[in-house]
């Protein structure tokens, strides 16, 4: 394509619509239209100018607003589809694996659920195609912004005060008529009062306000790109930690993925509203709903290993701080945060039995079995012993005569014990469950009689580190600055020219908020007695409507 020379002599880059210098329309289409297209000041954009190589084609594709909106709408629709049925992570199944999840969808939602799962919509937001769509959004944002930023920058930088009459009279706000001699000086005074920047050149005036708002879209797009970049970073290991820690009251545990730190849980507490709070204001609501949770709290002590201690050594840890972890009040240290996420009340901790003679009911003494860390052998008075030959914390039945445990958690403990007393030196075997005792080798003389149980609560904590947060925050901040800049401010301009014969022509343009522009113009008019103006767009619409009615 060739450079475009205007009648005024200025040579414009190829693709220019309005001459950079005088504002004349350069293309035939533009010359024939009633209003000038001011969107990018009529400058050349790469995407509108080149269309040869494959790079041009890709560039043009992604810089098109039509494509951009297409991507936005595609994302919007996809996001909506993902809410029709719950996403996989919100589905409650007893044991989590691909089969149970698949079965869940078809069991609960029938055929629709089966198809939903089959199409992969149960995990839509981490699906390959969804991530590609987000990637395309980012590419489109970058290319579309570059395509427009450079030419817009050039033309806003070189604004001329004097423009050709065809530029002025094809503006939406346009007026022409006779005025007083000092009209420019008076207009200048008033416009300055209204906080416009005013430039004069020979017989012309250019008043301008809020030019910086034109950069709003580009600033907000940069913010979005930074945000998306931050989101991408979390796929790189080290930037992001997400672990779960179940910790029992009284326990001390190393914090997963956090070297050198350990956490002790002193207690877990669950409080519910009684209805008495706040002068009884909540009693009605509490009555209606039943119980409403008020607080979940784990009181913890955070420990740190000294610099040069041996790995695995726990004795010489230093207390860093004591903290009550509550919902909305995570424990924070060293870039990590520990959240109160879940809990389990009254997990069995220890069980106490008495070794008793079945006939005489005489007790030989008591033993307490720690359900997390049981001992092998318990020695009682008179030389009696109880040996723990097998421990099944979550007894789930027998398989080939062997007792089984479903999990390592003490939900339903079973004990295989051998009891030896002076009376039964050979020992008697017994399998003990809650509320049930099996004597596999025939009747025993002694039994373990259940005395009591100790319980404690377990806290489910989540450990997070997210080094991308500052980047996301920065992106969000820049985005907000950009939208506020582009939307709460407008770029308003007026051109006024006084001809030799005393005639005055004027034009006004704004990128947004024509109402306010007209109000400004009315104030200036009232002070400087400018000729009357009209809104040419409204005129054209009226004209079209009239013609339409006449045609009927």
């Amino acid at each position: 394509m060739d450079k475009m020379q205007c009648q005024c002599g200025h040579v414009n880059p190829p693709g220019t619509i309005l001459c950079e210098s005088c504002g004349r329309s350069l293309t035939e289409k533009e010359q024939n239209s009633k209003l000038v297209d001011m969107r990018y000041e009529g400058t050349a954009r790469r995407s509108q100018t080149y269309n040869k190589s494959i790079i041009d084609k890709i560039w043009n594709f992604f810089s098109s607003v039509k494509v951009g909106v297409g991507i936005i709408v595609a994302l919007l629709v996809a996001a909506a589809i993902g809410t029709i049925l719950p996403q996989e992570e919100y589905v409650q199944v007893a044991t989590r694996n691909e089969d149970t999840i698949k079965a869940y969808y078809s069991d609960v939602y029938g055929e629709i659920g089966r198809i939903y799962h089959f199409l992969g919509f149960h995990d839509l937001y981490s699906s390959f195609w969804f991530i590609i769509l987000v990637g395309m959004l980012a590419i489109s944002l970058i290319i579309a912004s570059l395509d427009r930023f450079v030419p817009l920058y050039r033309s806003l930088k070189n604004q001329r005060v004097l423009r050709h009459e065809s530029f002025i009279n094809k503006q939406r706000i346009y007026g022409k008529g006779y005025a007083q001699e000092d009209v420019l000086a008076k207009a200048e005074t008033k416009l300055k009062e209204l906080k416009y920047n005013v430039k004069l050149d020979k017989n012309g005036l250019l008043a301008e306000k809020g030019r910086f708002s034109r950069w709003g879209p580009y600033v907000n797009h940069i913010g979005l790109i930074i945000f998306l970049f931050g989101v991408m970073l979390r796929m790189i290991p080290g930037f992001y930690v997400d672990e779960t820690l179940w910790i029992r009251e009284g326990e001390t545990r190393a914090i997963p993925e956090v070297p050198d730190y350990a956490l002790e849980s002193k207690s877990f507490e669950l409080e519910t509203y009684s209805g008495e709070e706040n002068g009884g204001a909540f009693s009605e609501a509490v009555d209606r709903v039943g119980s409403v949770a008020k607080n979940y709290q784990t009181d913890v002590i955070l420990y740190k290993k000294p610099e040069n201690s041996l790995p695995g050594a726990t004795e010489d840890m230093e207390v860093v701080k004591e903290y009550p972890i509550r919902v909305n009040q995570p424990l924070k240290f060293d870039g990590y945060a520990v959240y109160q996420m879940d809990f389990k009340l009254d997990e069995l901790k220890a069980m106490t039995f008495a070794l008793t003679n079945k006939e005489t009911e005489e007790s030989l003494g008591e033993l307490t079995i720690d359900l997390i860390d049981p001992e092998k052998m318990y020695e009682l008075e008179n030389g009696a012993t109880v040996e723990l030959k097998g421990y099944y914390p979550d007894f789930s039945g027998f398989e080939n005569g062997e007792p089984q445990t479903a999990t390592p958690l003490p939900n339903n403990p079973g004990f295989l014990v051998e009891m030896t007393t002076p009376e039964t030196p050979k020992g008697e075997t017994s399998f003990i469950l809650i509320r049930n005792t099996i004597e596999p080798f025939g009747d025993n003389q002694f039994k373990l009689e259940f005395q009591g149980v100790e319980t404690r609560d377990v806290s489910g904590l989540t450990i997070r580190k997210d080094s991308t947060l500052p980047i996301l925050g920065l992106g969000g901040l820049i985005f907000m600055i950009g939208v506020a800049q582009g939307m709460y401010f407008n770029h308003r301009r007026f051109w006024i020219q006084q001809k030799a014969n005393g005639e005055v022509i004027l034009a006004g343009h704004t990128n947004k908020n024509w109402y306010a522009l007209k109000k400004d113009l009315e104030q200036v008019s009232a002070y400087a007695s400018l000729p009357a103006y009209s809104d040419q767009q409204e005129e054209i619409e009226k004209q079209m409507k009239k013609e339409g009615e006449e045609a009927l």
Binding site: R39, V65, K66, G68, V69, I72, V73, L75, L76, A79, A80, G82, T83, P86, E89, Y90, Q92, V108, Y109, G110, Y125, D242, E277, N278, A281, F282, E284, A285, V286, R288, V289, V292, A293, K294, N295, Y296, R326, V327, N328, P330, A337, Y339, M341, R464, D466, L469, L472, G476, F479, M480, V483, A484, M487, Y488, K512, N513, Y515, D535, E538, E541
Partner: protein
């Protein structure tokens, strides 16, 4: 009088003021036969003042209730929806202040009235906060969102006025159909309000036990005669209607029953109006918009989006993410409510690009404004009541 009682009286006062203002705005517009804006501005000013009084009462409701509960009253369906009605009026006041257009009030106020009436159908007793909501971010995040939604909704009101004026009601067209569909759905909301009020006043109650979708036995209370029965239901109350059909476990037949009754009441009401007026509802309203300046309506619609979009971004995305990071340890979790906030935001982003980049002004823009409002309402009503998630209020 306790603070809570005072608060509900303020809400009544606001409701009545809005009701009166609606008619005065209507009178202002209708009185202006000749298109000289004199009487319009005089009556418009009166209506504006009544609206301001109503809005002050509405604010008084909000803050006295805050005092009564000890937390920002934005934590359940009643409170949030009422607040939306309030910010809708607030958004209108801002745009009226800028553009002085009574016709906008004639559309916004009845919609705000409907929303507040709708809200009052939900349990309105003051309720305590669950741990996740005990945070200053509740007030910061939710109030920003609801203010933004109030402002954005004004673009739908301006769009509706625009459409009422430009859509030709004498010829059969898609536009005419959809415009009337908007009117019909507004009447349906009224149908819901009437049905709920009627059955509550009649003291209707029917208890059932049923088997929920996890296979667990549960109980449910119907407040309207059960058209649909829950999965494997058994009636627990006597002398109540037997459901006409049983629903599978994934469908909440009680809510479906409520929806059906609202449809029945609303549809009857709609046809009554049409029979009496012998016209479409849109046609009843058409004379009111005769003198409307279309360009101005278009600009108001756009301006509302421009003011509302940054506020919405701040409240519904940025503040939401900050709070989610603090309360749930992740700033984004694809919870349905979050997703619908994102959808709303993407929608308005598309609106802005279509308008700026593709020149979608006037009628197209007006339709988009109305669709945006539908999405906001969907997020408020359907997502809260139907798609359960972390944010589910009901």
């Amino acid at each position: 009088m306790t603070l809570a009682e005072m608060s509900s009286n303020f809400l009544y006062a606001a409701f009545i003021a809005y009701l009166i203002a609606t008619f005065v705005f209507g009178g202002a517009v209708k009185g202006n036969k000749t298109g000289t804006y004199n009487s319009e501005s005089r009556w418009g000013k009166t209506a504006f003042i009544i609206t301001i009084i109503g809005f002050l009462a509405n604010l008084a409701y909000f803050f006295t209730r805050w005092g009564a509960t000890g937390h920002a009253p934005l934590s359940n369906m009643f409170e949030f929806t009422t607040a939306f009605g309030m910010t809708l009026v607030g958004g209108f006041l801002v745009l009226y202040f800028l553009y002085k257009t009574p016709v906008l009030g004639m559309v916004v106020l009845p919609v705000a009235l409907l929303i507040i009436a709708f809200a009052s159908m939900f349990p309105s007793e003051v309720s305590p906060l669950i741990p996740a909501l005990q945070s200053n971010w509740l007030a910061i995040h939710v109030s920003t969102v609801v203010i933004a939604e109030g402002i954005l909704a004004i673009s739908a009101a301006a769009g509706l006025v625009y459409l009422l004026k430009v859509v030709d009601l004498t010829k059969r067209s898609k536009q005419r159909f959809w415009l009337e569909a908007i009117m019909y759905s507004l009447v349906l909301v009224l149908g819901f309000v009437i049905a709920s009020t009627y059955f509550t006043a009649a003291g209707y109650q029917a208890d059932f036990s049923y088997v929920d979708k996890e296979g667990v036995e549960a109980e449910i209370e119907y407040k309207m005669p059960p058209i649909f029965g829950m999965n494997e239901y058994t009636a627990l109350s006597e002398n109540t209607m037997t459901p006409l059909a049983e629903m599978p476990a994934v469908i909440n037949a009680s809510k479906l029953t409520t929806v059906t009754w609202s449809l029945i009441f609303g549809t009857i009401l709609y046809w009554l109006i049409r029979l009496v007026a012998r016209r479409r509802i849109a046609a009843i309203l058409k004379p009111f918009v005769k003198n409307v300046n279309l360009n101005l309506m278009d600009e108001i619609g756009y301006r509302a989006v421009i003011i509302g979009f940054p506020v919405f971004s701040l409240g519904a995305l940025i503040f939401a993410m900050i709070w989610a990071q603090i309360a749930w340890s992740r700033f984004w979790g694809w919870d349905p409510k979050e997703v619908w906030a994102l959808i709303t935001w993407l929608f308005y982003a598309a609106y802005l690009h279509l308008r700026l980049g593709k020149g979608w002004q006037g009628e197209k823009s007006a339709w988009l404004g109305v669709i945006g409002f539908t999405i906001i309402l969907f997020n408020l009503v359907a997502v809260n009541l139907i798609i359960a998630g972390l944010h589910s209020y009901a």
